[in-house]
Symmetry: C2
Subunit: 360 residues, 2 copies
């Protein structure tokens, strides 16, 4: 297969983790006789630095023409502390999602049996957890009208949703549940928000089309608790943009490190794959960033094109690296010299030689 | 001291847990020669049932005249499932907060050493956790304009904050930090929301007035993770209405049960005390509801009037009940016949006779 992949490393640890994902994809192409080409483009703080724009036209152009996008991370501590900044790295990511119409963000949360003791949660709590979070990604309060009064003393954001926006992602979530444990949980705040009541209404009305899916509802505050108390109760979680942001980052505690979670952002025409973690500028260029999330994002990219064996091989490599403790310090590895690159190298070697790879 | 206390038991398990708190307050009055009078009023689903209104005029009136309000819980499963309901139990609570101007909600999250093994989190993770959450309670997306389009296909909520709203609660949070570990964490989503940027701006500008307080910022998604990964890093958390709702319910996993967390809602003129849990209609009238949150709400009520010895005695009673496993099933007690009332009785007995109380 020929795939033209846009690579947007972004800021902070983005470039180093994405380099590992790209390396792994190259090994896959070699092994399976695919032709993957990679085109790099700027986004985020590094794009602001070079062009003044967090999402240069050229970047959008490269993404639009690509078959898939591999995205690193954006953000920069200086902007985080400056609430007056008008141009912000995050705009790069948010505008990209919006302009490519990436309305469905899928975040799998799967407990690795080999890592159960790395989690802050007790083993029996998390073992066998397997959740798929469907987060709406181009609507809600992130994208509603924002206002700041002239005197700078009043600020507002609008959270708006339409039936259309809810239905298109809800269908995908219902279908995902059908192919899994047939349980769909809509997370909202319908006891306080009109937009949440619309979510509840629309999803309830759709339920009869999926009679074999058990639908239930949970308030976001309650879900934030239940996700920790009893993660195994969840199969597919469907939720709006900001609640999905909160729940999916929270869910990383189940898995043991946010450095393990990948996501796919899908629209009608485009598909983007990224780790769910941020840019952590402080950790950049130290070799400590966990590349697994980005490498699993690459596996999700292959899934998307039906390259199942290829994706499976990457996941086997990841499993093996975890089993052998070839992991960065976030997972409290036994070895203290395992860098970002070493983890990538190990998985690359594994792909080239699945039966013979060991720590060397 | 003479105190006129409005009691709003509300729905579900509200009445049974509030009855224990009232009993405990009566024991305190007796023991310390105070005159506490209690005036009951309707709110929530039970008020809708009897009057058609989740917050009858009479209830507001009783609350306005009271020195303090003891509030149970509101909500009802039938309303939770009906996204079309125009009159809702929650309106009772939300309107009450708004009409009494209860803009500061304080939620302490303290890990009980005797309960460390009840938590879903590992012991070493949570031991010595002591967090005070300052949640803004009368602004933000709960109270901004709500719209539903005529065709019912578009719904929106506005999240708005003013400098004034932010400053008044931020001063209280800074002061609380000064009397504790001098650390204040503002939780917001300033990388996506204009209202969050205003929070960050205002709180940054106030910081020089509290030079001995270390101020830091955290995005809500990250905070939802850090609260579980490393709760001990937090001292005072300051946040807007909905983020505070989510974080404080999530924080209950640290303590071991949401049935242990109480809160105070304060304004310039009024003060209300309530458990943070909901009405759990399913659990009502089974004797399984944990009354500790309500009893601790009563202790916070006494704190508010400077009745320190009285509040301390209640807390000692609570500690003793936990140490002796005189707890409801949510805490997996050793004994299986400890009802809501029994826990209340035990703490009442303890107040009457602190040195001699044991399980009988
Ligand atoms: C950077 C930020 C705007 C973004 C979001 O909130 O969507 C990030 O947290 C994410 O989850 O991808
Ligand atoms: C009932 C609901 C509207 C309420 C809230 O979200 O404020 C509750 O969850 C709480 O925290 O007191």
């Amino acid at each position: 297969m020929k795939l033209n992949i846009a690579v947007l490393p972004g800021d902070g640890i983005g470039p180093e983790v994405i380099a590992q994902a790209e390396k792994v994809l190259k090994a896959i192409a070699m092994e399976f006789n695919h032709v993957f080409t990679f085109q790099h483009a700027l986004v985020g703080a590094s794009a602001i630095e070079k062009t003044g724009n967090p999402l240069p036209e050229e970047t959008i152009d490269i993404c639009e023409k690509a078959d898939a996008i591999l995205f690193g991370a954006i953000g920069n501590a200086a902007f985080d502390l400056d609430p007056y900044a008008k141009i912000r790295p995050e705009q790069g990511l948010l505008r990209l999602r919006k302009s490519l119409g990436l309305y469905t963000n899928i975040r799998p949360v799967i407990a690795y049996e080999d890592l159960l003791n790395k989690s802050s949660l007790k083993k029996k709590q998390i073992s066998n957890t397997n959740i798929l979070i469907y987060r709406e990604l181009t609507g809600g309060i992130y994208f509603g009208e924002k206002k700041l009064s002239d005197d700078g003393n009043t600020a507002s954001d609008i959270c708006e949703y339409t039936r259309f926006e809810i239905e298109r992602i809800a269908h995908l979530a219902f279908k995902a549940a059908q192919s899994r444990k047939r349980k769909l949980t809509l997370v909202d705040k319908a006891n306080a928000l009109e937009s949440s009541r619309l979510w509840r209404r629309v999803v309830q009305e759709m339920a009869p089309q999926y009679p074999n899916v058990q639908l239930n509802f949970m308030y976001i505050d309650n879900a934030a608790m239940e996700l920790i108390l009893n993660p195994k109760q969840f199969d597919v979680i469907l939720t709006e943009n900001m609640f999905g942001d909160i729940l999916s980052e929270e869910a990383s505690v189940i898995v043991g490190s946010i450095g393990l979670l990948a996501s796919a952002s899908l629209g009608e025409k485009h598909a983007m794959f990224e780790p769910i973690h941020g840019a952590y500028s402080k950790a950049a260029n130290k070799g400590v960033a966990n590349p697994i999330a980005s490498i699993l994002a690459a596996a999700m990219l292959l899934d998307h094109f039906g390259l199942d064996d290829e994706a499976a091989l990457i996941r086997e490599g990841v499993d093996k690296s975890l089993k052998l403790h070839i992991t960065t310090p976030d997972l409290n590895t036994k070895y203290d010299n395992i860098t970002t690159t070493k983890v990538g190298d190990f998985i690359e070697d594994f792909i080239n030689n699945p039966d013979e790879t060991n720590l060397n």
